[in-house]
Assembly symmetry: D2
Amino acid sequence: MESKQFDVVIVGGGIIGSSIAYYLAKENRKVAILEADKIGGKSTSAAAGMLGAHSEYKEFKHLYPFARSSQLLYKQLYEEIRELTAIDFEKRNGGLLKLVYSENEKKELESILSLSSVEWLDNKEARKRVPQLSKEVMGAAYLQEDVHITPLIACNSLSKGAQLFGAEIYEYTRVLAVSKTGMEYSIKTAQGTFLAKNVVIASGVWSNYFFQQLGLSHEIIPVKGECVAAINEGAPLRYAVFHDQFYIVPRNNNELIIGATKKWNDWSENPSLDGLEEVIQKAKKMIPEVGEMKWTRAWAGLRPQTYDGHPYIGEHPEMKGLYFATGHQRNGILLAPATGKMIRDLIIGTPVEKEWLDAFKVERNIFAYGGGK
Amino acid sequence: MESKQFDVVIVGGGIIGSSIAYYLAKENRKVAILEADKIGGKSTSAAAGMLGAHSEYKEFKHLYPFARSSQLLYKQLYEEIRELTAIDFEKRNGGLLKLVYSENEKKELESILSLSSVEWLDNKEARKRVPQLSKEVMGAAYLQEDVHITPLIACNSLSKGAQLFGAEIYEYTRVLAVSKTGMEYSIKTAQGTFLAKNVVIASGVWSNYFFQQLGLSHEIIPVKGECVAAINEGAPLRYAVFHDQFYIVPRNNNELIIGATKKWNDWSENPSLDGLEEVIQKAKKMIPEVGEMKWTRAWAGLRPQTYDGHPYIGEHPEMKGLYFATGHQRNGILLAPATGKMIRDLIIGTPVEKEWLDAFKVERNIFAYGGGK
Amino acid sequence: MESKQFDVVIVGGGIIGSSIAYYLAKENRKVAILEADKIGGKSTSAAAGMLGAHSEYKEFKHLYPFARSSQLLYKQLYEEIRELTAIDFEKRNGGLLKLVYSENEKKELESILSLSSVEWLDNKEARKRVPQLSKEVMGAAYLQEDVHITPLIACNSLSKGAQLFGAEIYEYTRVLAVSKTGMEYSIKTAQGTFLAKNVVIASGVWSNYFFQQLGLSHEIIPVKGECVAAINEGAPLRYAVFHDQFYIVPRNNNELIIGATKKWNDWSENPSLDGLEEVIQKAKKMIPEVGEMKWTRAWAGLRPQTYDGHPYIGEHPEMKGLYFATGHQRNGILLAPATGKMIRDLIIGTPVEKEWLDAFKVERNIFAYGGGK
Amino acid sequence: MESKQFDVVIVGGGIIGSSIAYYLAKENRKVAILEADKIGGKSTSAAAGMLGAHSEYKEFKHLYPFARSSQLLYKQLYEEIRELTAIDFEKRNGGLLKLVYSENEKKELESILSLSSVEWLDNKEARKRVPQLSKEVMGAAYLQEDVHITPLIACNSLSKGAQLFGAEIYEYTRVLAVSKTGMEYSIKTAQGTFLAKNVVIASGVWSNYFFQQLGLSHEIIPVKGECVAAINEGAPLRYAVFHDQFYIVPRNNNELIIGATKKWNDWSENPSLDGLEEVIQKAKKMIPEVGEMKWTRAWAGLRPQTYDGHPYIGEHPEMKGLYFATGHQRNGILLAPATGKMIRDLIIGTPVEKEWLDAFKVERNIFAYGGGK
Ligand SMILES: Cc1cc2nc3c(=O)[nH]c(=O)nc-3n(C[C@H](O)[C@H](O)[C@H](O)COP(=O)(O)OP(=O)(O)OC[C@H]3O[C@@H](n4cnc5c(N)ncnc54)[C@H](O)[C@@H]3O)c2cc1C
Ligand SMILES: Cc1cc2nc3c(=O)[nH]c(=O)nc-3n(C[C@H](O)[C@H](O)[C@H](O)COP(=O)(O)OP(=O)(O)OC[C@H]3O[C@@H](n4cnc5c(N)ncnc54)[C@H](O)[C@@H]3O)c2cc1C
Ligand SMILES: Cc1cc2nc3c(=O)[nH]c(=O)nc-3n(C[C@H](O)[C@H](O)[C@H](O)COP(=O)(O)OP(=O)(O)OC[C@H]3O[C@@H](n4cnc5c(N)ncnc54)[C@H](O)[C@@H]3O)c2cc1C
Ligand SMILES: Cc1cc2nc3c(=O)[nH]c(=O)nc-3n(C[C@H](O)[C@H](O)[C@H](O)COP(=O)(O)OP(=O)(O)OC[C@H]3O[C@@H](n4cnc5c(N)ncnc54)[C@H](O)[C@@H]3O)c2cc1C
């Protein structure tokens, strides 16, 4: 095979790589996604799909404004993508109830509750929205903007959207090495070598390899999440409910997605029996009647964790034209549009918020661990 | 168990029974669905979901106006049900292209083409809408009103809607016999006996049993349909395409539903290898590139066929209060709302179109076979 | 369809019906199985497959000798069937450890332990056989004869064996009514009427209907059992382990079958989240490390329970030539060969143990509930 | 993580890597398998499992004796592994019928037919063994030694066997690079670095990467094979049947495995609709009645093809202690034991047949294409 030439080659076709491809292809860049497996088949397909800009962040310095901008991008993306690709990724309004079982827990939500879009619901009001809540629930922060989508469909729609704008999608094409000769990058695969002016590493937990191969000591830690789903046999659930990083998310087809455990540094992609037991117990703590509902399926996926809780979105410190976009942890679905846009802007030379550049840059002190685990 | 009492007991929770339950519960009737298996788990879950009021009928006497009224009901039902149940059954606009490969075939479409909502597309215009059409396609009738939905989700949403209006849903509850004592019906099941003023038999191909048990010689013939699905790896398909009773229907998640064979009087619910071979061949005749697409699943279902091509929607000739709503053949998804509404009207005493009463009544001459096979 | 004539029509093609068919066809009787769904697709396919003649019975009057004779029949059946059908139903030697956690529990096993084929293992010996046992286990009764098989494969092999001896198998053929005219039975189905000199009702929990239809007030209660399976990632498990009616059964392909809950009078055939939680907990109590193993699948099935814990195997009190063979509860896989043989003997007129005739006869006092729940 | 040290690290846990691990661990070598995904989850799980020492080879120089020795090893392995691991990989005697439709085809089998273990069956005799053969079949070579097994179970049993002899199995552990420092190899993974005196590359079609990374220009070409399975509803099939590289292989559970297409240089691991159509057609050419049988599943896998049709089993030309064991094409299941044994012998210093060393050595002229495609 003769080497193909592109403006940008993206390594990894999860939701991050697919979003980047979409934003770049829309600006007429010649783009390729090289995906080792199937588009969206890894962490992306395991996600619940909450766009938790508010639910996920306790601090509001860098990630919140970034996350919030991404949340807003989804509103327009939803219509645009449906129009373009004929795929509907099921954005469900309604938002999310962050449940509170004690005064202490309520106190922890103080900063979120101070936001204008967030509302405190006492016991009675919470139950009005979700009648099936456990009696133990004291109240809830109602995050109406934290809606949810169906991740794998969203990912497929972004990659297909990119394709319709001219991008080329190579599935089952694992990148083996990236190297630079002069101004150009060579991206080696078993299917041949690709050439590109820019490369974006968007390989989720597997980005580790490229950090190493490209001379960096950064590390992504997989945090395995195990899930089950059930048929909602009770009253409609119009909101996602959330407590202690577990949640129940309703889908358009009446299925409830229940997740997720957190198994630090576990690379296996199957659920264990312990994991299933744990998520069932946590779900029943929120909505006791789910225990009686019919099980439909179980699965697991890996969250790409970084040491300080921020993703890496930025250029390699030395290799110009080589970008990383990875480490989105529990929030890669939420952050995909903002990440796609930011990488696009970096590549085409549009200005990007100074704060985000600093917060997500690759050359920050990666061992200053600041939570997010 | 003490016998439970209802205004109406519906035997069968496919899309027909679920729709009837919905319309009656909405009018405050005390309704129960008794379903032998899972709601929607039989023929309904096998359907492609086309609302083919125009594509399916060559004659426009009785069924067309009925089908068309049902198609129109779906428009309002879609929003209403989503609001009520939080379930979205994926009504997809776009409509259907009935493909034509020869002048002869075009001639057969004359009466459809005379309708104001139907448009003739020549080769070039057809290809503008569906670029991937086979070169052999001469043109197409574009039936823009013949949109499609996702049948199992629709069925679940109707039964859940009914439940929210007070209906009771009994799954895994097979009806063994229906009998009348005085003014009341006893409906016998292994889980106990139910009592009701009215009974509706909506048991799909399995309604046969009740015809027999209730002294009628009517017969429903199963016509097995086998299907496969594939991932749409090409351009978006914005329309269903249809030829010679085979079709390719695009779903919101980028899957293509490809169906369906017709195996007369075959009661088995699994696809055979021959069946899969046939649908793949027919699909490739319409859109050759589907041959290269990735297979995702295969299944089969039974269409409840009648001898004259019309469903039975009406009262038992002698047993007042006992209704049949079955025999919807290839079009039960389409006809569900109109059937639900008609049975509701019969039971609550609202007038129904005389023509429909006659065309669908149980006591018509069932052996005057008039096509529709 | 013209009515087909048989010596024996069997209603239900689970393991009981299939075994009966096998034994009768082997004696040159003209046999048909009429199965509403797929052969073995109901309770039979949910079973773990233990042949627990010793583990399941605390009293040794009637059922034990019957069960034991059935266990012995499996030994010869295994080779015979493999030879005949080329199907191997995976009889696994090794037997079963009935675990004991306290002196009290040990006492309950006294009568079993008195049997010559049963051995008491103290803590150390038990752990030698199953090193991964929980520390809490005090010892175990080792029932070396209580081996296990793969039930669905066994059922398919029996029905195929019957077929090779001339039986006719009708799947997707639900029997609607059985009636007698003169010396002959009519068996009505939607596919036509079958005629037979003898009829055997072997419809599992659904036999209820035929008791009713044939004028008897007997009742079969479904006791739902929920299961999960996992990959055995630890040491080989060469024995089934058993405690408090829960168990872990190893399969030839390295899968562990873990079951089963007991949900009285629950007719649904799906596992609930509660059920999965419970079986996982019980399994971990026996072998803690299963918690870490990879989940593979989950399912549920219905055990056909009778009031006194004995199956019904015998003739209708009034209708000569009509037999019941149902109500095998937790032990239908074990009891299938002996049941098949007994029904064969009743039909062809070979003498049957008097004790069994009495213990299992239909006209016994069905409300003298004697356990077995 | 501190680096772990091993005698031998095996890269890839398909049947080849698992067999190597087994033979080495049995000789008390400290072995690790590093497997990127699940043990056996790639090509191995897609295979039909024929041990076609005779059916697959037209020439009898190098591969046949090697293949035949492997076939014989399976006989003893079967019992040994079952004893050790409690896993039964379902070796099914019976052998294979290589079908012939014309005099020309018969002529092509001349050399096989000259072997003492191979028997010519004319039309009548062939039909006696497989009554359901197509009328067009003229006769068959009966290869009674070419029995079959269930590949994924065999692979799991070998890796578990290795584990029981002390090997360590790391699933979800992708090797990123292999390098040598002094006498020791470093094997880099995202989970840490492993150290070893010897490394064996057994990564199937993905071995390409290591050829490149280790300075060799060898190439493995994937040849995708697509399959379907069906329930055998007819007479028992006691033999595999084979024609034109398509086949029908019966399993112990009454399933028929039907394969397989050959898609040169196709890296995707899903079946396409075209592929399914083709295997169904080819199967019907051998046994027409399979068309009517019930479909159960469909899948695809990649055969690791080399240019001259021989695997690479030998040392790196320059890097001592680094071995390749890959490129087994259509016959990796068959060749696994002999490959495992040969690599073991190379590593522990036992003599190996000179002919095999030469025929499979890495430094042969890889571009002298000699068929096997
Ligand atoms: C249980 C669970 C629940 C979650 N819920 C949510 C949620 O509700 N909301 C939310 O915002 N986030 C959620 N997440 C997080 C979210 O799933 C991830 O942050 C997101 O999917 C990361 O996307 P990605 O594209 O970086 O990774 P992936 O989706 O893993 O994509 C990376 C891709 O790179 C490919 N690849 C790897 N190596 C190579 C190579 N060498 N060459 C080519 N391709 C390569 C992989 O095959 C893969 O397809 C959840 C995660 C889990 C596990
Ligand atoms: C392959 C295929 C494609 C199709 N495509 C379309 C399409 O595109 N558009 C369209 O309009 N139609 C389509 N159809 C037709 C459509 O599926 C049927 O007309 C429709 O599902 C019939 O609905 P139903 O409720 O009558 O039957 P079912 O869905 O079969 O429901 C009957 C229910 O009754 C239950 N039942 C049976 N016996 C008893 C008893 N004794 N007691 C209690 N419950 C009982 C059953 O378990 C079942 O759930 C298609 C059908 C097939 C097979
Ligand atoms: C979780 C679980 C674990 C178990 N483990 C074991 C075990 O380890 N060992 C053991 O010995 N037993 C075990 N059992 C019990 C065993 O499964 C049952 O006793 C046995 O399967 C009963 O067989 P059957 O043929 O009577 O019923 P089924 O297998 O249910 O067969 C009855 C058949 O009749 C058909 N039928 C129903 N109505 C009609 C009709 N009107 N017309 C035609 N056909 C009809 C049904 O479709 C069905 O196929 C277990 C059960 C469960 C649920
Ligand atoms: C449809 C089909 C039918 C077949 N039928 C037969 C048959 O009947 N008889 C027969 O003998 N053969 C058959 N074959 C061929 C047989 O399947 C293969 O030859 C055999 O499986 C090859 O085994 P393997 O271990 O080399 O490859 P694989 O099974 O593919 O194993 C290679 C392993 O390496 C792992 N790996 C890859 N890269 C890395 C890395 N960087 N780090 C760590 N691990 C890695 C992979 O995940 C994989 O598990 C068939 C093949 C197909 C596709």
